[in-house]
Amino acid sequence: MPPLLELRGITKRFPGVLANDHIDLTLNQGEILALLGENGAGKTTLMNILYGLYTPDEGDILINGEKVEIHSPDDAIELGIGMVHQHFMLIPVFTVTENVMLGVESTKGGIFLDRKAARERIVEISSQHSLQVDPDARVEDLPVGVQQRVEIIKVLYRQANILILDEPTAVLTPQEVVELIKVIRSLVAQGKSIIFISHKLNEVLELADRIMVLRDGRVAGATTPDQATEASLASMMVGREVILTVDKPPAQPGEVVLDVQNLKVLDDRKLVAVKDVSFQVRAGEVLGVAGVQGNGQTELVEALTGLRHVESGKVSILDRDLTNAMPRVILEAGTAHVPEDRQLDGLVLPFSIAENMVLNTYYQPPFAKGVRLQHELITSTAEQRVEQFDVRTPSIFIPASSLSGGNQQKVIVAREFSRPIKLLIASQPTRGLDVGSIEYIHNLIIQKRNEGCAALLVSPELDEIMTLSDRIAVMYSGKILAILPAEEATLEGLGLLMAGIQEGATQAAS
């Protein structure tokens, strides 16, 4: 008997990126397949292809052994494929009933909505699968966990057999995750088949029948929970590429530059993202913060740089209390910040390269005299920095948006490093860059460290962390689980810590 669903050689290219590279996948009736991989590994792209939101450049989709064409979500729904998106596709001002019926409305006479009939079916589905929800509630008034139930009901309402759950636990509280796992089990018991996308190892091991790991758009391996451990999955996910070597003399730690005490920070949804975090960074050392993305690193960096409110705790830089200080005050205290999202937070994309080069100093002499900008000086400085930091650009007057990612990053680095700085906070400084740029930026960070600058490096790339750091902190679910000297850390040990397992990690590390 052919498998329920089969993908053969799916390839999808985006400008400059190979998102999916000849991916094969099979799903059997009544099975939970976990699709594991880091952010950007191509999981969501693959599922969007299956749901008809993207068209693949190459490859075939087979259902029950027959080749099918999926050009739109309509086709996918017709074939019994339903998707619960990572970012819910719900209309906040509509009721649950309206959201569920939208697109497949039950009507009287083909025109008028029959809310009552739809409501009855929703009640039926929700009791059958223990998905409690009030069909008349407005979606915007519901907690996230319940909104997700609405999404699942929406898929079941369309009589889907194959359910794609795209990182369903990413937005849930631990209690809601337990609920969700129950629901998934009950769905499978009733004959549904599920593709479960995640980068959380423990959930995958608990729930899946089979596990497939994607890395850089390719299948990195396939396994089953009884043959895999969190450590083996972590290494499959992260990969063991050649570690870039950086010439690094032993650290000469000096005075404490950054001192963080019992920091608590909330995320955009007002949930605690950073819990009771304390650490110090000394002059002349690099503290690497490792961790799977979304474990509070973003919020931590934003809090340290004054971009996010600190709920409680204390941040001091060179013995000065700068908790909840204005970003400019923190900057003038000698902090350089290389932000995680260079296009959103690092540059003003429509501004020229020259303007971007002085974004942090334009208001001070010598770049400003009173209220007037000194354009000649700004221009000559920019030209000199473009030269010095090897930014490849035809002109310093073109907008930053027209540069490649690596050169954009070099503009940011040039701006941040061309000032006397005491503290460097770099978040994913090499994300998406080519090998040459990575090496260049790595060397610059080490150079700053050798000059006596304290550096905090946040990155989900273990290789990068291990290459550059003198000490390594691992963040998991808002906490720092451990801070290890770099020489004691191993890929396996860090991988386990990144998955939240403390016991095995300390053993593996020692």
Binding site: L90, F94, F112
Partner: protein, 420 residues
Amino acid sequence: MVEELTLAQKQQLNRRRWIIGAIVLFMAALILQFGLGSGGSKSTFVLSSQRTGVNIPAPDLVLPTDVTLYSMAALVGLAGVWQTLRGFKRDTVVILVSVSVLTAAFLVWATEDKSLNLTGMLVSSVVRATPIAMAALAGIYSERSGVVNIGIEGMMTMGAFMAVVFASITGNLWVGVIAGVLAGMVMGWLHGVLSIKYKVNQIVSGTGIIILALGITSYLQRAVLNLNPELNQPGPVISAVAIPGVWRIPVLGPVLFNQSPLIYLMIVLLVVTHVLLYYTRWGLRVRSVGEHPKAADTLGINVFRLRYISVLLSGAIAGLGGAYMSIGAAGRFNEGMVAGKGFLGLAAMIFGNWNPGGAFFGSLIFGFFDSWQEKISILQVGIPVDLLGMAPYIATMIVLAGFIGRARMPAADGTPYEKE
């Protein structure tokens, strides 16, 4: 779960309470000021109607000026005191009621020892509210689907022009109405192509449509209509149709049941739009597209098609509004005759929170103030006519300032949809 208010939130609420209380008390003082020195005089409001030779009799409403004003002042004053000390739950309603009383008080004061035809004023309120309501309905169709339509003014201008020309050529006013509707749709289609297909900024596209319409119509008027005056003579305006049985009811009859068929059509459209938006499959889909087009798209709903249809309907209704202004009310086309009615309609739409009923109510307020300023200037109260002419627009600002915080526009309004 009981939400605890923080101290700062409480202080803010208190401040809001006091400010609104102070405004209401100020209005009470103003009314009292009107009342002072009007001892013994009377204000006469005529309720009978004399139109097109038909007389619908009704007794006059005669009020003692001072007593009426003092009681109004007392009423508003009490509300102000209560608001300041304890606070009403829905403070916007307090403001709305106080402004209404203030308006009535102004009328009573202005009619001191004179008489004013109240029925006539209400009739003209409805007449003046009609193009505004049509513009508001046009706005609702477009914006509920997520396309901001600031070009309604231009669509109305084109509708008004084409209606006159075609009515003059054919000698049939209804052909003119249809031409007006089609002209509006053409402009709507243009707006749709620019803003949906080419994703031009919708404010820019809408502004372009206004300028285009003004330019085309004023050029054609000078180059064609002025040389061929017979093209600007559609004949007498579409005549009022009395609804049998009810049109002789005093006050109500002339106001509601003896009006132009286009006004009835507007009311029918109002009801139809409400039913369409909230009780049909099409309406649910249109609203979903205006709120979260991507979600609608993942459910297999054609976002682009729904937006095109909505913008075309928007243009059609705006064209109808223009036709009403030219062949339905003025009897000819004049340059710039739409005179901001399209924008007032958008304000009424926002006032009504993008709901047909609320938008209609907003239009009536604007229509009322338009007619109010006209009647007051006839009474010659010693306030320059130009200042009184500002009344509808001041009313717009007060209404928007008081309500815009509560209004909630469709979430995706103004955002072009891009498929990945």
